[in-house]
Symmetry: C2
Subunit: 200 residues, 2 copies
């Protein structure tokens, strides 16, 4: 908490950490319906970045919902707080020089915009994983749509709670027109084109 | 949120990330009174680790209180939640392969023990920065002890709120017997002895 400035030599900065890791840190924010393919894309994207020697980290339901946000439920207020905290944690990771990939439905525009505002221009990359509801329902990887149908879950995005599509996402992934390889290649190319010349 | 296992190739693991960074990830948890020298030690420690090519990140009041935990006050419940969240975020960073250094008073034993339990043995390194209250008061780097004296702050650790000393910290720093260089060298040696042979 304190800071005895007298003893400080040189505070290691984000730029120092990026240099050590030889990369530009950004946040890839995946948004889309449950079952749209966010986690699949996140994992394959991370694998490709890893193979390029990039330092990455995925924030998703698996490591957030049962840890940091285990105190939150699914009320409107809690869902808003869920996204707020994820944004703040992502900011810390980007500050640490890491390429962060988040995979959350994040249905509300205002919540996503609030996260965007935490970052300087160009560091928040919104990726809309657009998959028709009918396909998501068919996949239903976690059996959640079935639970909704049985009346066991309420306020479910796309069913009885809205999904507000991004209006100007940095990257648009139409999963009806491309497979996982193509989708992740688009993101990799986006990263390389923008930041690899600058590999600092 | 979802996981279309079909498409998964290989989930990048903590071990993969440690290997990429050529280091073992741990959490150095500094605890001690306000003004004890935690931030000074954290910053100098980070500088030394950085010079060894290690990937580090400091969590402290500066980047936590105004971001992730900006919704928390200083009530007993909020202070407990403050430390809980810091522990959970530190866990994510360690999982990302980073050497994390935290600098928070963290006065209560049960809160620190709760964080310890989040980690496998050996990954949570408690460092007690032991500085007599009188010296902390004299330093008073943030003018907080003065504010307490003027009655502007209450429930201040060491004054009208207890500081529960660690009983078995992994590292004990007696700041009356050593300077910042010696203190940080002890921590560096601890790290190298334990983890550098294993540099994975």
């Amino acid at each position: 908490m304190s800071s005895n400035i007298t003893f400080h030599h040189h505070k290691i900065s984000k730029a120092d950490r990026e240099k050590l890791k030889n990369q530009k840190a950004v946040l890839f924010w995946l948004t889309g319906l449950s079952g749209s393919g966010k986690s699949t894309i996140a994992n394959r994207l991370e694998e490709k970045l890893f193979n390029l020697g990039k330092h990455t980290y995925i924030l998703d339901g698996d490591n957030i919902r049962f840890g940091l946000n285990s105190d939150l439920g699914f009320s409107e207020k809690d869902r808003e707080e869920n996204i707020r905290r994820i944004g703040e944690v992502a900011k810390l990771f980007v500050d640490a020089g890491i390429i962060v990939i988040t995979a959350f439905i994040s249905p509300f525009r205002k919540d996503r915009e609030r996260v965007r505002k935490l970052f300087p221009n160009g560091e928040f990359v919104e990726i809309f994983v657009d998959t028709p509801l009918e396909i998501c329902k068919k996949r239903d990887p976690k059996g959640l749509y079935q639970k909704v149908e049985r009346g066991e879950i309420h306020n479910f995005t796309g069913i009885d709670s809205p999904y507000e599509k991004p209006e100007n996402p940095e990257i648009y992934i139409d999963t009806t027109k491309m497979d996982i390889e193509e989708a992740t290649n688009i993101i990799i190319r986006y990263y390389i084109n923008r930041y690899s010349g600058v590999d600092r």
